[in-house]
Symmetry: C2
Subunit: 486 residues, 2 copies
């Protein structure tokens, strides 16, 4: 154990007690990866603070000893944003899970970062309110992690991302200062640092309290599953609905491979031989839902739907969503291993892009399952492979990266909602110029001048990516020899 | 003329030509104030660039000569954000008014900063699209200014502020670098610098191109004017509607003084002896509008509405909005001078706060007219006074600042949509701690390390505000002797 870490260990044991600091390798190893399980680093120490003062204490101690820190929520992230630093402290916020205040009249709630996404909605259900962003992992993922990643979800098409629902954050900066970013109203004076913090992937500080905007539960919800002969026919139906001015709460697409995996896992009643399925959900006043629902079914039929199933009641709707949200986990039934990609394209180019991904999969001799937020063009291609075959694994990783680059070349984005993290840092120059990245780096330095907060994430550096970073390199931390490949 | 300015004058004449650089005092004087007419500074030079390369040239020249710059849109801002610097260059973007690209299928438009807010909607009307944020000054105010101020408007209750509609900005940084902030999708990777730039009031750079999100025109629009015996009865009606889960497109309130001024100006048919009037607008699918409209009228009646007028057609609706949007200008009919205040309170405390403002007005022996965005608690109290009576003018300014502080003490905000600018910089510590402000200052330095971009705005400094800035001081630039009081 390096000297700085040994000093820190003693200091933090005094601050956090034995239960609040994990020092044994077997304990620390539990935190070696997040949802991006392909990469693992065992952190030097794991701190489990219980309140903001303990967070301040840990952060100040790290600052004094010059030790890097990595914040972690529930560890469900898919881009390695919470990948630990081998010589650093992993700060897990899972013990800070109090609901601080419910202000139902003003439709606001204040929570600690370890509260799960689903708990927020549960805490305000009695007031007929809910929290809109709904990542598939919502039962386990934490609000702190949602803030770090600017998490999305199926209903972001209508309701926006986490950043549109965070009113204010209490944040411990890398030097231990505690600041309040944002405020009780949506348009606070001064710079929108609330906005810059949301989605900063743990590089600007540690969120210790979050005020969220709540929405009133809609009067009515209508959900249907429409089967189509192919993803491109389903894509045309999506375009037709959007062009007709319909704003569904959610429009999700699954291709045949995804349908098979989801159905085997959740028995949601999906049609096993459909080329693609769309889940369309409408919500709002009952009168609006009914009128729009008629239009949606008509437009699906006009675009070649082979069958339309309407959710009979709330439990049927829950089953459909359970099927959809199980997609990533269920993929294990089709393939021992897979890469989850996350890119965005203009939704007008959906059919074209899916066809190109199909071609690329054939060229690479691999299967790609597609399950994604079709309404906002946020693709999640899953590249299936067998890790036991290293050559195939390498082909799969290359294909997955090529798909992300394809999204950028279509005028879209490297990432829709999973973040850049450790995974895509070297690909950032495909989307941003050197000047663009330099400004981000200066803003990072404004919060963290010594670069101690979640280092080696989000931004490319020559050390990690070589002089000319690009999308096809092996993971930078791997070649740097600091991580162990699964 | 100081040496640096003389050198700059020669250099900029070469770059911009005689028509692109104003050097004569009579020409420069045209730019001495923005919509906050109480303060005036004649800039040393006025540059009128026609494209991004000219902006880069002016900014680089200012950087080389160490001369401050102040960007300006249409000059309609109400917080003195575009107040010139006496030794600096005012950069007016009014000649950059091209519509660069309309992408109707993806509901996006790209424009130069001098394009007016209303022109954006006109440019896409043929596609049945429009741009949602609608400040009262929308016919003349520019998109560049809207970005700088994160402008709101009557329909922000349902549709959000400028920041919710800006996808990307091309920005010239204070050192002349050109960067792209944001991207074509709403959740771009990296830090949300688009978000930090929107609302930065000209302190971080100059926007030279903006991509905006467009909305589809709603199927139906329903507008009513409900009269009430008092603002607090009208406030109760607002609360009842929001509590019932209705999300109107707009809920505007005018008190009796505001009604009288608006009616005299616009002849919109407002009831002259009503204690208060609410304008409620619903939009969306016709079925939704009709259902919600029945609820709104019922809830207004239950809360004491004395009469309800429903707009008969589009021209009647336009007349109602013309009346409302004329409010500030129309106030001149009731009083030779007035201060426009802009604060936010939680909408659940509307009645309580209005009652307190009434008491404060009586104590100060002044009249206060209220016209505001009731749905989101964004007050615009207008403090009426006669500038010819300096003692009364001072009382009016004090009352106006006390009202802003009252909003903060109610758990609200110093400013809703007009910005901090020169006007409220010294009041920022009433809302933010020293640590909060220090982080903002470091972010400012990340963009503008030499503090040359719109200096003396937004943030308090000991030079401007003394060692202990607070809400009741005279305008800082006035005591510093650099501005002439109107």
């Amino acid at each position: 154990m390096p000297m700085a870490i040994e000093d820190l260990r003693q200091e933090l044991t005094g601050l956090l007690g034995d239960r609040g600091l994990l020092t044994e390798w077997t304990q620390r190893r539990t935190y070696e990866s997040d949802g991006l399980t392909g990469y693992r680093i065992v952190p030097a120490l794991v701190a489990l603070p219980e309140d903001v003062q303990q967070v301040v204490g840990v952060v100040r101690a790290c600052a004094r000893h010059g030790v890097p820190l990595v914040p972690r929520g529930a560890g469900t992230g898919l881009s390695g944003g919470a990948l630990p630093h081998a010589d650093g402290v992993l700060i897990a916020l899972s013990r800070m899970r109090r609901i601080v205040e419910v202000d139902a009249a003003n439709q606001r709630i204040t929570v600690e970062p370890g509260v799960t996404n689903a708990q927020v909605s549960r805490a305000v259900a009695e007031h007929d309110l809910y929290y809109a962003p709904d990542p598939s992992s919502q039962v386990v993922c934490s609000i702190g992690g949602n803030v770090a990643e600017n998490s999305g979800g199926a209903h972001c098409l209508k309701y926006g991302f986490t950043t549109h629902h965070v009113l204010a954050c209490e944040v411990v900066l890398p030097d231990g200062e505690v600041v309040e970013l944002g405020g009780p109203t949506l348009d606070a004076p001064g710079y929108d640092l609330r906005g810059v913090f949301v989605g900063s992937e743990g590089t600007l500080g540690i969120v210790t309290k979050v005020s969220l905007r709540l929405l009133r539960r809609p009067d009515a919800v209508r959900t249907l599953v429409a089967d189509f002969p192919s993803p491109s026919a389903a894509g045309d139906a999506v375009s037709a609905n959007i062009a007709a001015g319909i704003v569904p709460a959610a429009v999700e697409m699954m291709d045949n491979l995804a349908i098979q995996a989801c159905e085997a896992d959740a028995h949601a009643g999906f049609t096993l031989d459909a080329g693609a399925a769309l889940i369309v959900e409408l919500d709002g006043p009952a009168a609006e839902c009914d009128a729009a629902f008629a239009d949606v079914t008509r437009l699906c039929n006009e675009n070649g739907a082979t069958s339309i199933r309407i959710a009979g009641d709330a439990s049927d709707r829950d089953l459909i969503w359970k099927g959809r949200k199980a997609a990533f986990a269920a993929m294990g039934r089709l393939s021992p291993d897979y890469f989850v990609q996350d890119g965005v394209i203009p939704r007008t180019r959906l059919g074209e892009c899916l066809a190109r991904i199909d071609e690329m999969a054939v060229e690479a001799g691999l299967r790609v399952a597609n399950v994604f937020h079709a309404g906002d063009g946020n693709l999640h291609p899953l590249v299936l492979y067998t890790a036991a075959d290293p050559e195939q694994a390498e082909r799969a990783e290359t294909l997955s990266r090529q798909i992300a680059e394809l999204c950028v070349s279509f005028g879209g984005s490297l990432s829709g909602e999973h973040g850049i993290g450790a995974d895509k840092a070297c690909s950032m120059p495909t989307m941003f110029t050197a000047d663009d990245l330099a400004v981000m780096d200066r803003v990072r330095a404004a919060f963290d001048p010594h670069g101690r907060c979640n280092p080696d994430k989000v931004f490319p550096t020559p050390r990690l990516c070589g002089e000319r970073p690009g999308p096809y390199r092996p993971h930078p931390l791997e070649s740097a020899g600091v991580i162990e490949r699964m």
